[in-house]
């Protein structure tokens, strides 16, 4: 006779669940609205999404407040885990989404925004990511990851162009493979330790002194492959350029930020304890993967002819760059990861939004891709403000001070220096130099070449509306004046990360 389940509501600590539930409720609401009255304008759904995101943000800030008082919280049968990492990651996810969702309010009409499902799926996806970062239970991570991914595949496909479907199918198939890898890796850890919670796995492995090192490594390999796919680490990156190209520019920008930060958290939880337990193999492998990802993606970015594809490769590089933080694994490096990613999300969203507002419905005859470099030739003459803003984004991505990313870059490289990874620090620095070339390429096109097409600057802002301009302006201001915000942000991050024990 089983004991009746007797759980007090207090011990469930439902507050930990609130931030994830809010977007899900929002998604359901959108679906319900659509059931009652179809054919409503997209602006309604945008605003509803924003409202729910704001509420979500409020909930996260609330949990952050609790965290700073009480420290790490467990909840809902100890499945949920709210620590500094979870809070920071959720903040990034929600803020980036807040910047992303108004991008739906374009001047031209696009297929996907006509469906309320788009926004519902989007909110479901956010819920998935939030679950992912706020737990150390492999099941929940897996579920969250898949929820989010499946929604994302659909969002990509909803762009309703040949390339979008191709991108979605590619992403989906590889995602399925990576899901297999992840479950297999989880299975290995489960087999080794009898647990699927990361801290317990760590405890058990630590207790028996990594006796079955070979099998631990097998598990690590599969998890690394699965996470590497999501983070687009070489050689698991092959989906990234195609998917970025196939999806709409705004979604590509979103994809370069939000899913990755979620997976970074998982990677941090998963690998940090292994590296600190002296699993040299993982350190070496991560070192190689990080260097190869940074360098190779850089080289591929060099030879691209389409700006969006170039930015895709550049995102891969940045992911490799940030992965170095996990390899280094000090408090400084983990803080650097968040600082870097916050700054990066501003710039990258800004840059992709710039592409987004220049998106044409139909390609002119001389253009083979949506955002070929030639399209931007002589932009300074036809549309100087847009060109300047785009130039700032590019310089910032290249790491030119005092623009935003520079601060993340020096903090991250400094963490490599303090962590004893001297050579890595130099490799990171030199990769920034290589990267500067392709960012400059766009600057060169915009500022130093004569326009190829009509002298009409409208093409660069064809898609622009006030909300889009606001988002871009926000990103631009954030990029240029980041140096004013770095200090408070850095202190906040360091405090949270330090308190979470990373």
């Amino acid at each position: 006779m089983l004991e009746p389940v007797n759980v007090s509501l207090e011990s469930l600590n439902l507050m930990t669940l609130a931030p994830m539930l809010i977007p899900i409720i929002g998604a359901l609401l959108i679906l319900v609205i659509d059931i009652f009255k179809s054919g409503l304008d997209k602006s309604l759904f945008v605003m509803i999404s924003i409202l729910f995101l704001l509420i979500d943000l409020g909930a996260i800030v609330e949990t952050a407040g609790i965290f700073t008082e009480n420290g790490t919280m467990m909840g809902v049968f100890d499945v949920m885990l709210i620590d500094g990492l979870a809070i920071l990651a959720q903040l990034i996810i929600v803020v980036a989404s807040l910047l992303f969702i108004p991008l739906a309010l374009t001047h031209k009409h696009f297929h996907e925004f006509a469906y309320p499902e788009f926004f519902a799926l989007f909110l479901f996806m956010l819920g998935g990511f939030q679950f992912m970062v706020a737990t150390d239970n492999l099941i929940l991570i897996f579920v969250g990851l898949e929820t989010a991914s499946l929604a994302l595949y659909t969002l990509i496909a909803m762009h309703n162009r040949d390339k979008s479907f191709e991108a979605a199918i590619k992403y989906f198939t590889m995602g399925a493979l990576s899901a297999g890898f992840f479950s297999f890796g989880s299975m290995v850890f489960y087999a080794l330790t009898g647990s699927i919670e990361i801290n317990q796995i760590a405890a058990v492995l630590g207790a028996n002194g990594f006796a079955d090192m070979g099998f631990v490594l097998v598990g690590v390999v599969f998890v690394l492959a699965a996470l590497g796919f999501k983070l687009s680490l070489v050689p698991f990156h092959t989906w990234a350029p195609d998917v970025y190209e196939g999806s709409s520019a705004s979604l590509a920008g979103f994809m370069s930020i939000v899913p990755k930060i979620a997976v970074f958290i998982v990677a941090m939880r998963m690998f940090e304890f292994l590296i600190h337990s002296g699993v040299v193999w993982l350190e070496v492998i991560l070192y190689i993967v990080v260097v190869v990802t940074m360098t190779m993606a850089n080289m591929w970015a060099l030879v691209q002819t389409d700006v969006k594809r170039m930015l895709a490769y550049s995102s891969i590089t940045h992911a490799g760059f940030v992965m170095a933080a996990i390899l280094i694994g000090t408090t400084q490096s983990n803080s650097a990861l968040f600082l870097y990613w916050i700054l990066f999300s501003f710039i990258n969203l800004g840059a992709f939004s710039m592409l987004w507002i220049s998106r044409q419905k139909h390609l002119p005859y001389h253009q083979y891709t949506d955002h070929s470099f030639e399209k931007f030739a002589g932009m300074i003459q036809t549309s100087p403000v847009a060109a300047t803003i785009m130039g700032v984004f590019m310089l910032s991505l290249a790491g030119i001070p005092p623009f935003a990313l520079f601060w993340g870059k020096i903090y991250l490289i400094s963490s490599a220096v303090t962590g004893g990874y001297t050579v890595l620090a130099f490799i990171m620095a030199l990769n920034s130099a290589v990267g500067a070339y392709y960012y400059l390429k766009l600057v060169v096109y915009m500022f130093m070449k004569e326009p190829v097409i009509n002298k009409d600057g409208h093409v660069f802002v064809a898609n622009a509306t006030t909300p889009l301009k606001t988002i871009i302006g926000f990103a631009a201001v954030g990029t240029i004046f980041a140096f004013l915000a770095v200090n408070p942000v850095l202190e906040f991050i360091t405090a949270l990360v330090y308190k979470s024990g990373y």
Partner: protein, 101 residues
Amino acid sequence: MEIGLNHYLVLSTILFSIGLVGVMRRKNLLMLFFATEILLNSVNIAFAAISHYYGDLTGQMFAFFVIAIAASEVAVGLGLLVVWHKRHNAIDLDLMSTMKG
């Protein structure tokens, strides 16, 4: 000979390998989806077996979730496949390479 945990694990590994080979070799999208199903199901077998071995239900829970996710994956996957087939009247992977480089 008694069937032990190791046999299940070996079976799971073999199935997983078959799935991997399928993923690599299949040019038909539908077949490819089947291969990914094999991957996930091989893991399910292992989870169930380990769960039994430890006398712990977590593994089986994981297996259930995997099944659920596999199902939803199939839903999304087939949806994409159908759209693609409608547009191109083919589900051959080799035709699906407009973006590259």
